[in-house]
């Protein structure tokens, strides 16, 4: 369903980024990059007072004509960005949330691996498989 999924580290460099249509990947990379600004905006907008209650799911970051971009931030400021096709109207908010939850869980599993150094690119096969499963459903 998603056409592009990215995991961005706290320092705003990508830990993992993958696009479904392999052409025009650069466009997706650029979209993800620009969405980071929106993410930061949303985080700061919540304010420090609400830090405890800050929701992890950020919702729709911004829509373009073809795509919609959703965001999700973990408590350690790791961001998940997902780009979905606008034509896929069947996607509801709940589904997006569940997809982010799955991402988050897989990410935690990757973290649990002692051989993974936080800040490295994510090269876990399990993570890859999970992301593939999320992206494949387009067809």
């Amino acid at each position: 369903m998603a056409v592009c999924i990215a995991v961005i580290a706290k320092e705003n460099y990508p830990l993992y980024i993958r696009s479904a249509p392999t052409e025009n990947e650069l466009k997706f990379h650029h979209m993800v990059h620009t969405s980071l600004d929106v993410v930061d905006e949303k985080i700061s907008a919540m304010g420090k007072a609400l830090l405890d209650q800050r929701e992890l799911y950020l919702g729709l970051l911004y829509p373009t004509e073809d795509y919609k971009v959703y965001g999700y931030v973990t408590n350690s400021k790791v961001k998940f960005v997902m780009v979905v096709d606008s034509s896929n109207t069947a996607l509801r908010d709940n589904e997006i949330r569940s997809m982010f939850r799955k991402l988050h869980n897989s990410y935690t599993d990757v973290m649990c691996n002692p051989f993974y150094n936080p800040g490295d690119r994510i090269q876990s096969r399990a993570f890859d498989n999970m992301v593939t499963s999320m992206m494949i459903q387009v067809c």
Binding site: T108, D109, M111, C112, N113, P114, F115, S124, M130
Partner: protein
């Protein structure tokens, strides 16, 4: 692998077209590769062809003598000449020749005897004696041909060995122990072919034999004394890093084996991980998913363990998504379906239902066929029945052992922490940062509490020498220089120093310090032997770490001592001020 297989087939000295026929029949052509089943069938057909039977599927069903493969040793070695395996071969050969005397000589005899010696698993038809002799050239060829790669491959066959063969000769004794493994796996391979009509084992290399299992358990215990507890991630990381596999591979192995993704390895998980490492070192490609025989429930069922620690999994019940649970339940169902009658309960009971529901396989595409069969129940039985005197002969184990000999350190290692060494958090903080410096193992957190005591008392031994020396020259005001000297030695003697200081402050007398150092010295006598023993084992690593920490700690300790001095002065000022206040107060009151 078509290459080695083709060579092996050619060695059977059958005409080429027969071999083609066989290849087709066994299904390798259709499937495109020689899987285990195809291989077995092919070998069976070769045997049939060699006995003169027509090459047809039906021939597979008959009781056939073993196929004969005429091979030279060199061929076998060269054939598997990819560097890792060559290396493994080279390591293996010297090991085989030197490790136990006259391996080659005993080889043949032992293999004959091996066929009769007790091993695990039921064998439907005990091999008759003629095949024994035929096995000798076969296994001889095999032993060189298959070298290290196949060793593991065939090693698990032991699990299917006949339980106790009555014609067993007692020679399976000490001298043949390492050979046993080598020979038995070869024999088991040949036996395996006879058991084709039984359930096939598509995942032979991933089956853990009993000796391997024992070895893994011992290694586990060296890392973590409690077999029902788990090894933390950092400890396991240090340990597995010694295997010199690349980090991505280790990362992947971890991913496969840590089924519950909790960052720690329980005993079955550890065995699985170790086994994967061993297999990988022997040239086996890592599987896409955790093989059924390596899954924790399977391992637990095959080798029953004490009660499982469920708390960890309870904590993960929230983190695991709901959609993984139906998959696990699926697997549970399949497991229960596949359960044979004689392996009834352990699978379900040993692992609590909670854990079952929570366990998620790493690879979702993994077929969840946990083929529990009588072999495993026999495994568990024979595990207890067999004498434990067997050592581990295969090269892989040997390499692992060599590797393993480096890491195991006794749990009470002096943990060079600074300041309040008894704080567990500090130890945990240090563990991630320090492991690079310490080539040895860091003791796992659960074992922490005893450690600070020997460490402190050990360090007190050095610390108290210096105070005594430094206090000798000067008197009352000397406490500060004395303390300044003390930090140059082992810093974590601070609690002792604190004891010194207040006493010095109180009396400004040497005697309390010497008195306190008295009992300290008594206490230090005991740690000395342990210190020496530990340092002898991990000398360099510990000393490097010690030095680094000392430097860091010395600075902090100096700072601390200066602050202490200031505190003392401030105290005195306060006392003086209070006295003044007392004196002045009657004046003000008036």
């Amino acid at each position: 692998a078509a290459g080695p297989v083709a060579d092996l087939f050619r060695a059977s000295q059958l005409p080429a077209e027969t071999l083609h026929q066989i290849t087709e029949l066994c299904g390798a052509k259709r499937v495109g590769y020689f899987g285990a089943t195809q291989f077995y069938i092919a070998l069976k057909l070769i045997a049939a062809a060699q006995s003169g039977l027509p090459v047809r599927i039906e021939s597979v069903k008959c009781e056939l003598p073993l196929p004969r493969f005429m091979m030279s040793k060199n061929d076998g070695e060269i054939r598997f000449g990819n560097p890792a395996e060559l290396h493994g071969t080279k390591v293996q050969i010297p090991y085989l020749t030197t490790e136990k005397n006259s391996f080659k000589r005993m080889d043949d005899e032992d293999k004959q005897q091996e066929t009769q010696s007790p091993t695990m698993s039921p064998l439907a038809s005990p091999p008759s004696s003629p095949p024994h002799y035929q096995r000798v050239p076969l296994s001889h060829g095999y032993s060189k041909l298959r070298s290290s790669a196949e060793q593991i491959h065939a090693a698990p066959y032991e699990a299917r060995q006949p339980l106790v063969q009555p014609e067993g000769s007692s020679s399976g004794g000490p001298g043949t122990k390492p050979l046993r493994h080598q020979a038995s796996l070869i024999r088991s391979f040949s036996v395996e072919r006879e058991l084709q009509d039984n359930s096939s084992y598509p995942d032979e290399p991933w089956r853990i034999t009993e000796e391997q299992r024992e070895y893994y358990v011992n290694q586990f215990r060296s890392l973590q004394p409690d077999p029902s507890s788990f090894i933390s991630g950092s400890v396991a990381k240090n340990f597995f890093t010694k295997s010199k596999l690349s980090i991505p591979e280790l990362s992947y192995i971890w991913e496969l084996s840590d089924a519950d993704c909790d960052g720690a390895l329980t005993l079955p998980e550890f065995c699985a991980a170790f086994h994967l490492i061993v297999a990988r070192k022997n040239g086996y490609p890592l599987p896409e998913g955790l093989p059924p025989t390596l899954q924790p429930e399977y391992l637990q069922a095959a080798f029953p363990k004490p009660k499982w620690d469920c708390q960890l999994f309870d904590s993960y019940s929230e983190s695991l998504p709901a959609n993984q649970q139906p998959r696990d339940l699926n697997r549970m169902e399949k497991t229960s379906v596949k359960d044979m009658a004689d392996l009834p309960v352990p699978t379900q009971d040993v692992t609590s239902d909670d854990k079952q529901a929570l366990k998620s396989t790493i690879n979702e595409a993994l077929s969840k066929d946990v083929s529990e069969d009588p072999a495993t129940s026999k495994d568990s039985n024979s595990l207890k029945a067999r004498p434990r005197s067997r050592s581990y002969s295969s090269t892989s184990i040997e390499e692992a052992m060599k590797r393993g000999e480096d890491p195991p350190t006794p749990p009470p290692r002096p943990q060079k922490t600074h300041s309040r060494a008894s704080s567990l958090d500090l130890n945990k903080v240090f563990q991630p940062s320090v492991p690079a410096t310490k080539s040895g193992l860091l003791p796992p957190p659960p074992a922490l509490p005893p450690r600070p005591c020997p460490s402190q008392s050990e360090q007190v031994s050095e610390a108290e020498l210096l105070p005594q020396l430094s206090r000798a020259p000067s008197q009352a005001a000397e406490s500060s220089p004395a303390k300044k000297d003390v930090p140059y030695s082992q810093p974590p003697s601070k609690p002792i120093r604190r004891k010194f200081r207040p006493e010095n402050q109180a009396t400004e007398n040497q005697e309390p310090s010497t008195a306190s150092s008295g009992p300290a010295s008594a206490a230090t006598v005991k740690p000395h032997p342990t210190v020496q023993k530990q340092s002898s084992k991990q000398k360099k690593a510990i000393q490097t770490a010690i030095r680094k920490n000392k430097e860091a700690n010395a600075v902090l300790a100096r700072l601390n001592s200066e602050l202490q001095q200031q505190l003392k002065e401030v105290h005195q000022e306060r006392i003086a001020l209070e006295n003044q206040l007392e004196q002045l107060r009657p004046v003000t009151v008036l």
